[in-house]
């Protein structure tokens, strides 16, 4: 069978409008065809059907009443309306929301969710984040059911040097209450309660988690949900919200390639903000939620903002200008090359970075996105085996130097030749660019 290939919504809509005769204005029939594509795109992204229906209706109303925007073709217009509406529904552009606090400390944060959604890891990540902000968090092991769940959070606590509260054979509601008292006595101002994973259809377990809430009055009850969740997200959000009352959502495993349509389902059903997303197995991997970025992701349009942000974190303004000048005057040498490469690598694994570029995610989907990290490491090794003088003036590298560099980097002289050739090509290209000529086929040049 052909595997399911996801197209971005903009590609789909361009296809629809190409087939239609009317241009410039969106007729009602055109819109119907377009909305069908919107519906499919959202369903493929695992947005719950109920939410999709509401959404499509809203978009239809807005699109019919919308002013025709100059400069946009009909497909772009619909994409814009859909994107804006998605952002709106996901919580708007207002940026990430803050954690609510109690009138008097400690501030209790309760984590609830299904089995395997990532509550324990999120608890540790949240504790680390709070401590970085100068707070004094306490972790509470309130999952006596899953084998070794307590050991897991204790191990994480040790790794982070954050205290973990636990009592053997104490029921979770009482245990949580004791933990809060423990925090009060010890001057800890945040209490993060890691509860057991539970099914929403398990009455006794849902009662228990509601009881914990009644005992500790948490200003925040965060529903931890897996970004890969399918249609069931609606029911999970509904049930946890009705039975326990949630104040926010943490969407985990966002470093997968799931479209994350569950975000929209959870947000619109529970009506509470998505506060954080989990983006890595590492304990630093908890980021604020940005509605616009997830909207783009759901629509399969890449996540340029995150890419830009990561790049910005690593390059400061001055340095960017210095580099630009070097490129213009073609004094960009191997040292700069190495420096740039190291920076790119710091931004994350290359395959992951490519996924953030619009259009790349589906181009790469199902392919071996093995952008050769090994080859990059080899190049690094070669440049590092050169003397500073050789890096600045590669033209001085003759046969005997090549043999030495090859030995030093565990490569062959042929590899060194290839690198030097590529570098010469690059320099040539930079010279051409600086004279305003864009060589044909340059990957990121204007069409």
């Amino acid at each position: 069978m052909a595997t399911v290939v996801f197209e971005s919504l903009s590609d789909r809509l361009q296809g629809v409008f190409r087939k239609l005769s009317s241009r410039g204005r969106v007729s009602e029939d055109d819109l119907k065809a377009a909305l069908r594509e919107v519906r499919i795109a959202l369903l493929e992204a695992d947005v719950s059907l109920k939410v999709v229906k509401q959404f499509v209706q809203t978009v239809q109303d807005k699109a019919l009443g919308a002013e025709v925007l100059t400069g946009l073709n009909p497909a772009q217009q619909v994409v814009k309306i859909v994107h804006d509406e998605l952002v709106e529904m996901l919580g708007g552009d207002g940026g990430p929301s803050k954690l609510a606090t109690a009138p008097t400390p400690p501030n209790v944060i309760m984590l609830v969710g299904l089995q395997g959604s990532g509550k324990t890891t999120t608890a540790a990540k949240l504790a680390l984040l709070l401590r970085k902000q100068g707070q004094r968090p306490l972790l509470v092991a309130a999952d006596p059911y899953r084998p070794a769940a307590v050991t897991q959070i204790q191990t994480l606590g040790r790794q982070l040097d954050i205290p973990v509260y636990h009592e053997e054979r104490r029921k979770p509601p009482e245990l949580a209450q004791d933990a809060v008292r423990h925090a009060e006595r010890n001057g800890l101002n945040y209490v993060i309660v890691d509860t057991a994973g539970r099914l929403v259809i398990d009455e006794a377990m849902m009662d228990e988690v509601a009881e914990i809430r009644r005992r500790v009055h948490p200003p925040e009850v965060l529903l931890v949900a897996d970004a890969m969740t399918g249609q069931d997200a609606v029911r999970v959000a509904e049930q946890f919200h009705q039975r326990v009352g949630v104040t926010g959502v943490v969407l985990t495993k966002m470093d997968s390639d799931a479209r994350g349509g569950a975000a929209l389902s959870l947000r619109s059903v529970a009506g509470v903000p998505i506060k954080f997303i989990g983006v890595s197995e590492k304990l630093e991997g908890l980021e604020p939620f940005h509605a616009d970025r997830i909207a783009s992701r759901i629509l399969g349009m890449g996540d340029v903002m995150t890419l830009i942000e990561r790049a910005q974190q690593l390059t400061d303004e001055d340095e960017a200008q210095r580099l630009q000048k070097k490129m213009r005057t073609a004094t960009f040498d191997l040292e700069d090359f190495l420096d740039q490469m190291t920076k790119v690598r710091q931004m994350g694994p290359l395959d992951q970075l490519l996924g953030l570029i619009p259009g790349m995610s589906q181009a790469l989907r199902g392919q071996d996105v093995n952008i050769d990290e090994k080859a990059m490491k080899r190049i690094e090794a070669m440049i590092q085996s050169m003397t500073p003088n050789e890096r600045r003036h590669p033209e001085i590298i003759g046969g005997s130097r090549k043999r030495r560099i090859a030995r030093g980097s565990g490569t062959t002289t042929a590899d060194i030749n290839q690198l030097l050739n590529q570098f010469r090509q690059m320099q040539k290209m930079m010279k051409m660019m600086s004279r305003g000529k864009m060589p044909a086929g340059f990957p990121f040049g204007p069409g």
């Binding site: 259809i201 969740t229 999970v236 997968s256 390639d257």
Partner: protein, 313 residues
């Protein structure tokens, strides 16, 4: 037979909620004698999509049924119900198990893989318990050396199921755990070693490379029978397809376990998954207890899911 009936009821209980949910509505929709009209087709489409069957596959199934309807093969809504059930069951039956998982007197290695939090460790405990109860000599290998306390978790299950667990320290190279576990399994003359691996997102290049290495280590040990099983969470949406494809590429894939089929989720994505990787569902996890694991039977699954008759054998 008694054993089979017993397990069958478990599956029903798990799937019961599923049925009571959306698929139950299919039955209501179809069993009532009513004309086959656009409303009915739309209803069917919605119900399949809400079960995570996926847009593409839903369209395909319904197109085929529409064709049969036009050809006069489907005349009543009751016919349509039977045909739907047939189509779903056939889709699963077409993918037959490739080999026996475990044989007495032959060393078998079963590598259990999946993304984070799907229920690998619990599934391994259940599977080990099942095979032990069938008289096989089972060893567990704790090759998830990454997640905090994963080794402890498997050890606790091992104690409960009375199964030996081969483990190293946290942070150890999973390949070396596997190597030792294979040696130990051979030395004990055991039938099968069940290997628990760390949860990994299929998008992580390095972690998938690590998995390839584990597989290479097993292959180099001349184990007569090697099987890779992917555990899929029943609540997962369309991403399960990509997951399966990527794990198949890294470690080969011989079958699936659908875990957590005891919730309100439908598990409908398995139709697309089994088709994409041409590997069958072998077992379904239907609860948190050690014996909450059922053999997978396509007919039973669909029957219980769509809700024809009482679903009992």
């Amino acid at each position: 037979m008694l054993n089979r009936l017993f397990r069958r009821e478990k599956l029903d209980q798990g799937v019961e909620k599923t049925r009571a949910g959306f698929f139950g509505k299919i039955r209501t929709l179809l069993m009532a004698e009513r004309p086959i009209d656009d409303d009915l087709w739309d209803g069917l489409e919605e119900l399949l999509i809400q079960a995570d069957v996926g847009v593409q596959l839903t369209d395909e199934i319904l197109d085929r049924l529409r064709g049969e309807h036009r050809a006069g093969e489907i005349q009543s809504s009751k016919d349509l119900f039977d045909a739907l059930q047939d189509a779903l069951a056939t889709a699963l039956e077409e993918i037959a198990p490739r080999r026996t998982l475990v044989e007495r007197g032959t060393l078998s290695a079963v590598l259990v893989v999946g993304v984070n939090g799907v229920g690998k460790t619990t599934s391994i405990a259940k599977l080990g318990n099942l095979w032990r109860s069938q008289g096989y000599n089972v060893v567990l290998a704790a090759a998830d050396t990454f997640r905090a306390a994963a080794i402890d978790q498997l050890k606790i299950w091992g104690e409960r199921a009375k199964l030996p667990v081969i483990a190293h320290q946290p942070g150890a190279d999973p390949s070396s755990v596997v190597f030792d576990a294979l040696t130990a399994t051979r030395a004990r003359g055991a039938d099968v070693v069940l290997i628990d691996t760390a949860g990994r997102l299929h998008t992580k290049f390095n972690l998938m490379e690590e998995l390839k290495k584990v597989r290479r280590v097993i292959d180099k040990q001349n184990v007569p029978n090697v099987t890779t099983i992917l555990v899929v969470d029943a609540t997962t949406g369309q991403n399960a397809v990509t997951q399966a494809e990527q794990f198949a590429k890294a470690a080969g894939l011989d079958g699936l376990i659908v875990a957590k089929l005891d919730g309100s989720s439908k598990g409908g994505v398995i139709f697309a998954v089994t088709r994409a990787v041409q590997a069958p569902v072998l077992f379904v996890g239907t609860g948190e207890k050690m014996d909450d694991l059922s053999d997978f039977d396509p007919d039973d699954f669909v029957e219980a899911l769509v809700g024809g008759g009482n679903g009992r054998v």
